[in-house]
Assembly symmetry: C2
Homo-oligomer: 570 residues x 2
């Protein structure tokens, strides 16, 4: 085992109000061009918001001298920590009506700092909002209401080191504030990788993934971050603790699983031992078009129930395929990728394509080939995930480290999908500036419910959006993760809003979506967490005995009720 020294990283400016890097945002002309694609949007983009226009009051509390060096009241820092990065958050920034802006932002540098800040906050009725990359799309990192004296945003990103690596058992002890590229960069010299690549990879942290049970890179099998956790360190107002590093244990209910998904409401995760993998040396990918979406669903189910274990198995419906530029003929598109550190994967890809063909699929690129270019695509991945300078499209850590091979033989549809996947949140912000309502939501359900669920969401949410806005809406669907017993559909809604009233428009549309999901017994969230936006759906879904236990755990661990109030529980 060895401690990993800190190294300088290239720095780009993060947007305080929109997704990702400020230099990757659409300019006014690009926004206008985007808006022209959606009937009813504004003629000119809303201006880029300015911190100076925000209602930022003087902090209601002052930290003690012993903590002052950890805390800032800088207006830009406070503005950047006021909300996450949902459409709701972006439009609130654009309209200069943000959520409550925190009084202070703290950057602890270690466990002692976190414990001291929690102690001080508990004594002074200060709400503490744990904050990683700030990429929440469910209102998970903002404060609502006024039942606390002040609000402190607890930014963990100064705690971003890989502290130990166990190369024998392939695991690393990693501080929770490490952003995706920051932790992968430290693992690379050891030829190891966490291989957790959510769309937010560049802008979210290990601690955020753990606290929200993030879904990751793999489209099948173990993909939620939960399964890669060997041990957690958690600091609560009632004390700190670390679970043992174990490959498996049957000793009582899993202690880690109580904190995974606890969204900062039970404690602050400060570090974790994570299970790693060797970097894949063999990759192959292909895409398969389907005329009939329901047949494509059957094909994906058959793949998920086989033991072929594709790393990527994402099904885009016709609208989603069109939007990503991957298909233009009204077909649905299945994007398949295989990878292995052990041996060639061409046979598995060929078997998967053959299986898809049996359900009416039309392979778009010849399978195979990928293995031959293994060395090349391995090094592309190695250079890609550092977050190298350049346009968002070409710097994409997710894409080049992702499951979809980047070699030429992999087919343009696959590449088109990957680029669009990374670019999507920036396009959303461009459309938001045109007064459009553009947002996504995801769910999961068992296969017996999937076809009717997808049909109902498309129909009912589309009708609701039309009724609410008076404009035709786009409702697209893709499957991001598939399981032997079900799938995770991910929906994108785009419609022109009512100028100045966009938040309400989206909340009304989302309420209809939540009702449809509930009626179909589809979870309120597959990997975006509950936050504050999903509370109503979560409360209906959570079994009552577990709700009782969770409330009791909250009382025991956070007796002053300072931790992320309103998330998961009142």
């Amino acid at each position: 085992m060895s401690a990993i020294p800190s190294e300088p990283r290239p720095v780009r400016t993060r947007s305080w109000w929109g997704w990702g890097h400020a230099d990757a945002h659409l300019d006014d002309a690009e926004c206008t061009a985007m808006g022209a694609l959606l009937p009813g949007t504004l003629a000119r983009p809303l201006p880029v918001p300015r911190v100076a226009d925000l209602p930022i009051a003087r902090p209601a509390v002052t930290p003690p001298p012993s903590l002052a060096h950890l805390v800032t009241e800088d207006p830009r820092a406070r503005a950047a920590h006021a909300m996450g990065k949902a459409y709701r958050d972006v439009i609130r920034a654009l309209r200069a009506r943000p959520g409550r802006i925190p009084d202070l932002v703290a950057h602890p540098t270690g466990d002692r700092d976190v414990a001291d800040l929690l102690d001080w906050a508990g004594e002074h009725d200060v709400a503490v909002i744990p904050f990683g990359g700030g990429s929440s799309v469910v209102g998970g990192v903002e404060y609502r209401g006024d039942s606390h004296r002040a609000v402190l945003s607890l930014d963990l990103t100064s705690m971003d080191r890989v502290l130990e690596i166990d190369t024998t058992g392939r695991a690393a002890r990693i501080q929770a504030g490490a952003l995706g590229p920051v932790l992968e960069e430290q693992l690379r010299p050891h030829d190891l990788t966490l291989r957790h690549f959510p769309q937010s990879f560049e802008f979210s942290t290990l601690g955020g993934w753990l606290a929200t049970r993030a879904g990751g890179h793999y489209a099948t099998g173990r993909t939620h971050i939960d399964d890669f956790v060997q041990s957690l360190r958690v600091i609560t107002p009632a004390g700190a603790g670390t679970s043992w590093r174990l490959p498996a244990s049957g000793a009582g209910p899993s202690p880690d699983r109580l904190f995974l998904g606890s969204e900062g409401a039970l404690g602050v995760i400060t570090e974790a031992w994570m299970r790693l993998q060797e970097r894949p040396r063999h990759k192959a990918s292909a895409s398969v078009a389907f005329t009939d979406f329901h047949q494509a669903l059957d094909a994906v189910r058959a793949l998920a129930q086989s033991d072929l274990a594709p790393a990527n198995c994402r099904l885009l419906d016709a609208g989603e395929a069109l939007l990503s530029g991957a298909s233009h003929d009204g077909s649905s598109l299945l994007v398949l990728g295989f990878e292995s550190a052990t041996g060639p994967v061409g046979d598995r890809l060929a078997s998967a394509v053959e299986l898809a063909r049996a359900y009416g699929g039309r392979p778009e690129t010849p399978p195979a080939a990928g293995d031959a270019s293994a060395a090349a695509s391995g090094s592309a991945a190695a250079s890609g995930s550092v977050g190298s300078p350049g346009s968002a499209t070409s710097s994409g850590s997710v894409g080049s480290s992702g499951s979809v091979g980047s070699s030429g033989s992999d087919g343009s549809a696959v590449n088109a999908w990957r680029s669009a996947f990374l670019r999507m949140p920036y396009l959303r912000d461009g459309l938001a500036r045109m007064g459009a309502v553009v947002e996504t939501f995801e769910t999961a359900a068992t296969w017996d419910r999937i076809p009717a669920l997808i049909d109902a969401v498309r129909t009912e949410v589309g009708a609701a959006a039309l009724k609410i806005t008076g404009h035709p809406a786009t409702v697209n669907c893709r499957l991001t993760h598939v399981y032997p017993d079900g799938a995770a559909p991910y929906f994108t809604v785009a419609v022109a809003g009512r100028p100045g009233d966009e938040v309400q428009v989206w909340d009304d549309i989302k309420a209809v979506a939540g009702e449809v999901l509930h009626r179909h017994r589809a979870t309120i969230t597959h990997h975006h967490a509950v936050g504050r936006d999903h509370r109503a759906g979560y409360d209906l879904q959570r079994p009552e005995p577990f709700a009782l236990a969770l409330r009791a755990a909250k009382d025991a661990l956070d007796p002053h009720r300072i931790l992320n109030p309103g998330v998961l529980l009142d």
Copy 2:
């Protein structure tokens, strides 16, 4: 979906005091022959114990008329529910010094019965011990102390039906009281299987597996029952609840994971939707001998870190291999098995054997072949797991449904291991009748700790046993489950006891074992649960914030503290 009709099953008599079926017990001559192998044991076996010799008092409570039909005070039923099936339990029965015998045994037939019994027990200070197959080896199903007015054993085995099957998503709603063969028998007509085959398969229930986080059939990958749970129904004194059937969810901490491993202390699991699989059509197995056990460990680690995913990958040390008759030349033995419902597995077996050879392994049987006999071994599995009459060796549901192919080409070492695996607990009881102390314990640790851990247990536990008894002890080890980041070693200890003092002898030996495990940060249990016997180790291992949360959950769900008192918590 369809309800599965109840069907008659062949009935054999379960032993009230020892393992499994009474007709499979060793007779006196067999016991004497076994004893002769272990220096210092008795000359003649202890007599088979009789219920009439036990101190069975009149019940301290009488159930109300509305519940009377569910409850028995029959002495044999009470005796059979007094303890589990650890060595400690068997020797206590043989010495007519059992744990406290429950006042009453209840057989609820549905959720309403369970709730009514809990209500009545809460009102009358009656401790309730949930009881499945009664195969606990950690004191999980007995009552210790005298802080309750009376004790009720809640036997769930009358709730043993598969209630619904979803063939599209391959899942079934199964009542928690179904024993392994009983549930597999109901799934077979649908060509589906849960494929959870612990050694106790015939004598343990789904609910028991869930409440103890049982480890199962697969030696690699997903093997703990936890990963096969889609939804749980739990009845607590504070109310009942059912989690939604979902393939995955990110909505808060997993509600099911709090009850998995809760050992009856938080509620009674009455049914679960379980993820099923197609029955495997392709199987292949082989064994590989190693002169150097530490090289064998390296080979197994390499296999676990590959993506070959063997279903069986069990490593027996020299003593374990000798005991099971699988090897006689002092070699360690790696038992490998592959299975698939999708396609042939011969290539994967060949790759695995090749990998083992690189670490000095000597293949004992030619790999391959297994695929050709797929149909035959499939039907052997089909007939095997019903629990057909015959000797324990030939009826073994585990063996014939297990991962090790039963066709002749699979090699005698593999077959020898399987037979011994099933016969082992009966031999233990035979040795117990000879006054021997024979018991097992299991753990798990990360790979970096495994070699030193195994060496330390062998040396220190062996020395302690010699010191405590004055007799030389056998300490054998096998790896039952392996993971990319670690392994689960399973130890067997055999030594002549001190007549009449065997429980204390074992407790003293086990205390040393627990100390060694703790020093090596190896879990107190990988798949046998905590119960009462592992409390000390569990209390040291459990992180304090989780302990606080668990106690709070217990207070909220079981306010009268009637549920399995002393398990997990005081």
